[in-house]
């Protein structure tokens, strides 16, 4: 007889609520008449994400001492809870931005169902406590994302993006799975904590299987975080996928991948810290170099933002690489403004795209700032935030990431980060320049081409929220850092 573990339903609440919303939306796809289908499905998903936020906040408050629940398969702690809050906020904003996206109406309810299901998978993923749940939940949200990328099945680009993501992603997942198998083979354990114990007691820290397994796990997680050299899919997929999906992926997927990466590394592989800190630092440097250099020469704004997200992954991996409490705090803090900045940037691109009906390039952004003052100002703030200038949370995020590296004695990494920041200013400010500082004739051309479709209240609200977070996280540093500190205290540094 199989022993049934006791289930802490509350720990599962965010994932279950989202899963419920997803199932409901799927039912609505067949039961609700076509006219009302979009409204009902979107509302269901939005409520699901709202419920997820509430449940996660509750979890955060109620899980002062992190613990493992459900047969030690899942963490119930503040580290996971805070990440779920971020994911659900991004999900909610994605619902708002998706509203006016020109997608085929036939499968609209399914789209929302997938969005909620992806959120549920992520909520599960960040709590994963053993290699099994880790892989399971990774596949769970990845499958949803593969389909969401290709949801615009009439568009060749969208299909291509979905297919590329699927194939390359399978490879990444396979790496993670194979790595897990090797680690299991070396230690005989699945749970992160048990792996660390087995490594310590068995003197396995130099075991060939274990270190190769670690390399594979690192690659699998690095793939999801789109860190170089596992990043190649990112620009193509981000460009081809419908923009709201890109926005969701850039903010939420990266958040969960990095959060889980730090958890796995410090929980399961503390004995190999010497290896992975250097490896992660190397990956961070590669991401910074490739992300920033490639972004310099992009004309397509979505591609440029994709490379920018690779470079942000590099900055956040600096924090991960230190493997210290300060690094954990820095990562968690950085994710808050980063999510807002990345999401907001893509949301503004979505607005322009709908206005013009063609992919947004630096050239056809001309005059956008004058036509749409609010979106223009917001985009400016997101760009300044990406560059890490003061009065945005990006500044404080970079500051913390750098101070974590400095604290760890890696001044060279700080220097690399600063040089990368300098390079990045060129293309971030290039967007601002394109929006405001073009010669008059170019501005007029763009205005004629653009026309003025009605403003989208929901999209503007989402951008507004991202604006407030980007701006507010600079001023509310202390409370946010406290949140991050409590969250990071759940990890066994």
């Amino acid at each position: 007889m199989i022993h049934r573990p006791s289930v802490d339903w509350f720990a599962l609440a965010p994932a279950l609520i989202l899963l419920g919303a997803s199932g409901l939306a799927l039912l609505e796809a067949v039961l609700v008449p076509r006219g009302a289908r979009k409204v009902v499905a979107a509302a269901t998903t939005a409520l699901g994400f709202l419920g997820g936020i509430v449940a996660a906040i509750w979890l955060y408050v109620d899980s002062v001492h992190g613990e493992r629940v459900i047969a030690n398969a899942l963490y119930r702690d503040r580290w996971a809870a805070l990440a779920i809050v971020i994911v659900c906020c991004v999900g909610l904003a994605s619902v708002a931005v998706s509203w006016s996206e020109r997608m085929s109406e036939r499968h609209i309810a399914e789209y929302y169902a997938l969005l909620a299901a992806a959120g549920a998978g992520m909520a599960f993923f960040v709590g994963a406590a053993n290699l099994m749940t880790l892989f399971l939940s990774l596949e769970w949200f990845s499958l949803c994302l593969y389909v969401m990328c290709a949801v615009d099945s009439e568009l060749e680009g969208s299909l291509e993006a979905g297919l590329k993501y699927l194939i390359v992603g399978s490879f990444g997942s396979a790496a993670l799975l194979f790595g897990s198998a090797l680690v299991y083979g070396a230690t005989g354990k699945l749970g992160f904590v048990e792996i660390a114990q087995a490594t310590a007691t068995g003197g396995l820290s130099h075991d060939a299987l274990l270190v190769v397994g670690l390399a594979l796990v690192l690659a699998g997680l690095g793939f999801k975080a789109s860190a170089a050299p596992f990043h190649m899919w990112t620009p193509d997929v981000y460009e081809g996928a419908p923009t709201p999906v890109t926005a969701f992926m850039s903010a939420a997927t990266k958040t969960v991948a990095l959060v889980v990466a730090l958890r796995v590394l410090v929980t399961a592989f503390p004995q190999e810290a010497r290896l992975w800190t250097w490896a992660v630092a190397g990956i961070a440097v590669a991401s910074l170099a490739i992300g920033n250099l490639a972004a310099l020469v992009q004309r397509d704004v979505k591609r440029m933002l994709a490379y920018s997200s690779i470079s942000h992954a590099g900055f956040m991996l600096i924090a991960v690489a230190t493997g210290t409490p300060l690094g954990g705090r820095a990562l968690m803090y950085y994710l808050i403004p980063y999510s807002a900045i990345a999401f907001g940037g893509f949301a503004v691109v979505a607005a322009r795209e709908r206005e013009l009906g063609v992919p947004v390039t630096v050239d056809n952004l001309a005059g956008f700032g004058w036509e749409r003052p609010f979106l223009g100002i917001s985009m400016t703030l997101f760009m300044l935030g990406s560059a890490g200038l003061p009065f945005t949370g990006g500044f404080v995020g970079k500051f913390y990431a750098f101070s974590a590296a400095y604290d760890h004695g890696w001044i060279w990494l700080v220097i690399v980060g600063v040089v990368a920041t300098i390079v990045s200013l060129y293309y971030y400010l290039g967007v601002v320049r394109a929006m405001y500082m073009r010669p008059a004739e170019e501005l007029r051309l763009a205005a004629v081409a653009g026309g003025s479709p009605p403003r989208e209240a929901l999209l503007q609200a989402a951008v507004g929220a991202a604006f407030v977070v980007t701006f507010g996280s600079f001023f509310a540093v202390q409370p946010l850092i406290e949140l991050a500190r409590h969250a990071a205290s759940s990890l066994p540094f």
């Binding site: 490879f171 270190v211 594979l216 690659a219 050299p229 190649m232 490639a294 202390q478």
Partner: protein
């Protein structure tokens, strides 16, 4: 209650600025003017509330640190927006917002009809906000922020008439001179922060006792640099006369009543440091003594009505520095207050004259204006008498205590004492030279031609009422303290900045100093009367001295030769030798190279899945091999 008053006091002018800025052209100019006036009036009410609250407490409890929010926190290091309400800051808040309110009200009439009134009033409110931030700042960071913002808003206001090249040049000069002081002050603060690991005043001052004497002296010197620049003392004083290019109410507000006295406030606030670095304290006193003489001498030959008053301001602040440097903080602060009254009065009365004469500022053309403007003449006379320090006017009570304080300070105290007394003679002379040239006698042809009465009155009520109020204050404002018999100001400030024993004059010292000061002041007036009113004797002419004074002791020329020319030469050299061959050549090349590398990276992005998987597998393989080899 007390913190609420302080926050209202601080934020009301900021709200005024924002309201005027955001409303833009949607509100009329007059509305903007009244918004600004009302915002400063609200600030004054807030200051009174805080003052009343403090009065109700026992003296040693009168200190409230209120933090609105903490921005960053690490151990004892807390950076946040906090205000400190204690006797010293409330004293300054009352002066800044009270006198500020009268001056902004005066501006309503003075600036009426200017093209950019809204901008002017937004700046005025912003200045008052900055100044309040400076005096209320509860930690070193906020004090520094207020200090910087005051410099910025003064720059904006001096250059308000931006179509006049002179005004722009004056604004730049003021900003650069002040930036010099800002830099030394910031350096001093950084040293304190570095050693104390905190922005807190108390911790910073406690830290200074652990520093080596050289370090303390350097810190104090840095602070003194900031104070000297802001308060226009030698050697960073040359910006103040030029700053008279701004509108007259600006001169009254910034260059008489508030900003230029910030240096005195700074010394009083950071007095524990100056007490540990006594030498630097004495340097401050010496600077004050020197400035009061030099400025008094230069004022003798100026022909621009505002510049005469500007030099007199420098001279009077010299007295305050003398007092504060010797440790008589309360006397310095008290003189700061009475000076705010009578100097603002003088500027505003001069403003009435300038306003009535269509912008004329040369005193040689103003002769006899007193007959046409009798009330202004009285106001100016009251201000002059208060400035010279004759009883029972305000200046008498505040200035004489400072002079007396110098007597106790060893042998050098006597030098300061003599300087200060000579200064009173000069004050009487230049003040009444101005008065006798401008007001009495038959109106000159120029005056008759240009005099333009405002609806038959000397000015709109918005201008005359503040002048009236200040005239009253210039008479009675000093009566709140008559050392050594009656010393509420000293007692009030004692919990924050207790007067040093050495600077506490005895009764006979007070008596003899007062008698001599009044006598010498009267002598100055008498000489002025003989030379400029009765014209019994010709003004003695010593060509060399005259030229030296007219050139303001060649400070501008000296700085030009010493700093400007060498810097310009170095800049020119580095343009030719470095920027053109190196930066301009290498800069674009560096950019091109980077772009080229970027293109290379882009070429890796083939769009083919097999490349992507290859990269993934390659990265993975490298990781695995490295791990295996170094495990």
């Amino acid at each position: 209650m007390i913190p609420a008053g302080a926050w209202i006091c601080l934020l009301a002018p900021l709200a005024g600025t924002l309201a005027i800025t955001l409303c833009g052209t949607r509100i009329s100019r007059v509305t903007a003017a009244w918004i600004s006036t009302a915002s400063v009036a609200v600030a004054f009410v807030g200051a009174i509330v805080a003052f009343a609250g403090l009065l109700g407490e026992t003296p040693h409890k009168r200190s409230h640190l209120s933090t609105a929010w903490t921005w960053l926190e690490a151990g004892t290091f807390k950076a946040g927006l906090s205000v400190l309400v204690d006797p010293l800051s409330v004293f300054m808040m009352l002066i800044v917002s009270g006198v500020g309110m009268l001056i902004v009200l005066y501006s309503v009439g003075y600036m009426d009809g200017d093209d950019e009134e809204r901008r002017y009033f937004a700046y005025m409110s912003f200045f008052v906000f900055s100044m309040l931030l400076l005096v209320q700042g509860g930690n070193l960071l906020i004090l520094l922020a207020g200090w910087g913002l005051v410099g910025l808003s003064s720059y904006l206001l001096i250059g308000f008439w931006h179509e006049r090249p002179v005004a722009v040049a004056a604004a730049k000069k003021a900003f650069i001179m002040n930036a010099l002081g800002d830099a030394t002050m910031a350096l001093a603060f950084f040293v304190l922060i570095l050693h104390g690991r905190s922005l807190d005043f108390g911790i910073a001052f406690a830290t200074s006792s652990h520093l080596s004497s050289t370090a303390v002296n350097l810190v104090a010197l840095g602070l003194l640099g900031g104070a000297v620049a802001k308060s226009a003392q030698i050697p960073l004083h040359t910006w103040l006369p030029d700053a008279m290019e701004g509108p007259t109410p600006v001169s009254a507000l910034i260059h008489a009543a508030t900003m230029v006295t910030a240096g005195v406030y700074l010394i009083a606030r950071t007095h524990p440091i100056f007490e540990q670095a006594r030498t630097i304290g004495l340097v401050a006193a010496g600077t004050g003594a020197l400035t009061l003489l030099v400025a008094g001498l230069v004022a003798l030959v100026q022909t621009d009505i505002k510049r005469v008053i500007a030099y007199s301001t420098m001279s009077q602040i010299g007295y305050m520095f003398l007092g504060a440097g010797l440790g008589a903080y309360a006397n310095g602060e008290f003189h700061l207050m009475t000076h705010a009254f009578f100097k603002a009065l003088l500027f505003m009365a001069a403003g009435l004259v300038i306003h009535a004469l269509a912008g004329e500022q040369d005193i040689r053309n103003m002769q006899g204006i007193g007959r046409l403007m009798p009330r202004t003449r009285w106001a100016f006379l009251i201000g002059s008498l208060a400035l010279v320090g004759l009883p029972p006017f305000a200046g008498f009570f505040s200035k004489d205590s400072i002079i007396a304080a110098a007597m106790g300070a060893h042998w050098y105290g006597w030098i300061f004492w003599v300087c200060a007394l000579v200064g009173t003679f000069l004050t009487g002379l230049y003040t009444f030279r101005l008065y006798f040239i401008v007001f009495p006698g038959e109106p000159s042809p120029f005056v008759r031609e240009h005099y333009d009465a405002h609806h038959g009155k000397e000015g709109p009520w918005t201008m005359t009422v503040p002048v009236g109020i200040l005239a009253v204050l210039a008479v009675i404002g000093g009566w709140i303290q008559f050392a050594p018999l009656w010393t509420p100001v000293t007692t009030w400030l004692a919990p924050v900045a207790r007067t040093l024993d050495i600077a506490e004059p005895t009764s006979w010292e007070e008596g003899i100093s007062s008698a001599l000061a009044v006598a010498l002041g009267l002598a100055g007036v008498a000489v002025a009367w003989m030379l400029y009113a009765k014209r019994e004797r010709a003004v003695p002419v010593v060509p060399t001295l005259q030229r030296a004074l007219e050139h303001k002791f060649y400070f501008d020329e000296l700085y030009d030769a010493l700093f400007y020319r060498p810097s310009a030469a170095i800049a020119e050299w580095s343009r030719r030798g470095f920027e053109e061959p190196v930066v301009l050549a290498a800069g674009p090349e560096l950019g091109d190279e980077t772009q080229l590398v970027g293109r290379g990276v882009r070429r890796l992005q083939t769009g083919l899945i097999r490349t992507y998987v290859l990269a993934l597998a390659g990265g993975l393989a490298v990781l695995a091999v490295v791990f295996l080899s170094v495990r």
